[in-house]
Subunit: 401 residues, 2 copies
Amino acid sequence: MSEFRYAARAANVIAPAAFAHHRSDMLKLSAGNAYPPALPDLSAEVAEALRRRDETLQYGPLYGIDDLRDAIAAYLHDDGIVADRENILVVNGAKHGLELACRVFLEPGDAVILTGPTYLTAVSIFQANEASFVSIGQDEDGMIVEELEEKLRARSLAGLPAPKLLFDTPDFHNPTGITLSAPRRQRILELAHEYDFMVIEDDPYRRVRFEGAALAPVKSLDTAGRVIGLGTTSKILAPGLKIGWVNAAPQVMRRMAAIKADGGSSPFTQRIVAELMRGGRLAAITAGITKVMHRHRDVMVAAFARHFPEAGFVAPKGGYFLWVELPGDVDSDAFARHAEKFGISVFSGRLSYAESPRTNFLRLSYSFCSPAEIEQGVATLARAFHDLAESGKVAAGQHGA
Amino acid sequence: MSEFRYAARAANVIAPAAFAHHRSDMLKLSAGNAYPPALPDLSAEVAEALRRRDETLQYGPLYGIDDLRDAIAAYLHDDGIVADRENILVVNGAKHGLELACRVFLEPGDAVILTGPTYLTAVSIFQANEASFVSIGQDEDGMIVEELEEKLRARSLAGLPAPKLLFDTPDFHNPTGITLSAPRRQRILELAHEYDFMVIEDDPYRRVRFEGAALAPVKSLDTAGRVIGLGTTSKILAPGLKIGWVNAAPQVMRRMAAIKADGGSSPFTQRIVAELMRGGRLAAITAGITKVMHRHRDVMVAAFARHFPEAGFVAPKGGYFLWVELPGDVDSDAFARHAEKFGISVFSGRLSYAESPRTNFLRLSYSFCSPAEIEQGVATLARAFHDLAESGKVAAGQHGA
């Protein structure tokens, strides 16, 4: 079979690492899948979608069905965000919204600001859009804005163009679980104005909160249309409907829609979500999921204390993930491969970095497995770790990505 | 509101022209929507999707669910195409497959070969991917391969790189309804090898056949993985599920998947389609739709003979569209606007050209309206035409796109 003249970006893209976790013989602590027993019964909403056949089986409007756009705007209202239908574009999950933002703003080589580590799929989407990166560290208050400002100023002094986009997950950051502080939310917006970049606020976990009070979303502080909010039903309802949204200034939303090549998301699945949002049932489902995730987090934290106390982490106050520092000199790629042999799938923390990865972190999810499996999984990880560490075969950095 | 630093491609994209046709007060002869009374009852398949909650509400595999990929491969088998699961990527409609092919193959400025006229949405997708165009004329046997060969040779002599992609709809071409002859299918493949480009065979209408025998798809003649087949359920089942597919060499399919930013199409709607294909019910639904479209075509053709005999067209032997030449000097853009005032939405033929548009054609669809509405619509178009022609206000070319 001959090779073809692929575009450079197609050679750049790293095939998603998420394949091993589809193996049914694996205990999955990798991807943020839904907990199967918490998947909702959607019979009533689906029946409504079937009844509205002329809407749900027909081509739908490019921007999304109006009932859903209105329901999403109302949903955002509860977070203090002023939005109406003209701000909302329905997309096939938040990832798809991120891709559209890249298509509308990024030329090859344009710089994107993100935290190191960050959402691993965002990295591959940015790479597929031929972005360059400005990685900023995090502390317990999130992205370190002083470092951001310094890097922006240094780029400017060096005559480099300002980055086009900043990407962050301010609430229960993926993978670290950190929440961006209120002053930093404000400061990032100020820097966006000063340096003329857009802020992408990815917000899948905000309502999956175990502790603490919510801070105002960056989007709620935005008076100039600088922020593109991304939302999804994957973590608050169920992943399989593939319904997400973009909340942006109308002219930005329309440009994203114009480049959305599918001609409009499925009105069938949109109607299901619209019914769930309008009827208020979504909030009850999210509350149920949150309760489950809270319990799962507690189980995972306790399992580490019991079986693997040498591992380091800060327990997240919401969301789906635990960001774990491996003790000693063990490389995370080697460890992830070793853990697979023990029947556990985990993501090496390397995948969460756009550049200069730290090599001794894991991203674990407590979402998919049962409490008993989480307990067993962490115990097995500890065994795998000690097995690898004692084998002495792997030193830091030996196994590059 | 400030303007932002958009990428050039976002400024290039033309907002879809398909908005007027969502106005409920319009008689729609524009978009190829489903005929509402022909929309199927999917209760049984949806019930199965609800039963399989652990599959359908969870994240699905990036390439699509295996049952659907296998069912699509079997479906293509009936067309003489050898494919298996590893060739099939499930996408959100054929448009989405086209976008992914562009992302995998096109760098800005790369040339795409297409017919003039061609599928209007393909034009905007190629434009959003910053393609340049090599437009080739059609006769009653489809794309004129001698003209194609001549242009390829001239580009080569001029030191220009060969085009990367060729896009065509060999069966019941949109908008002309023409079917590409068997020798030309073969010749296009030979030229693809000689000049090292990929062939995108868009095939939404093949089974919506009123007359004549099917020719072998280009993909069935392809032994080197040069052809990317695009399929969709929109025209053979219902548009609202947004399920389409790519059939390509595995390494091409995998690259398209790696750049498919949504992480996998909805397993809920995939399961519905898989059940329809596996159970054989899809064929019955397609047969019903074909019968309706056949009748609608006959009604439209007869209505033109009765009300608007000066208009020129070749009655299509399948598909959803009639490509109509306006008599005299009337400009199609001006006419489309004028027809709207009479309550009829039509697409100016200009939208179907990537370059050098002919200015006196309309693309009409007979799919959405009832036979009575089609009759009334064509009669009204004739009135609108005579009104415009007699007003003498519009001469050819006066109203540019």
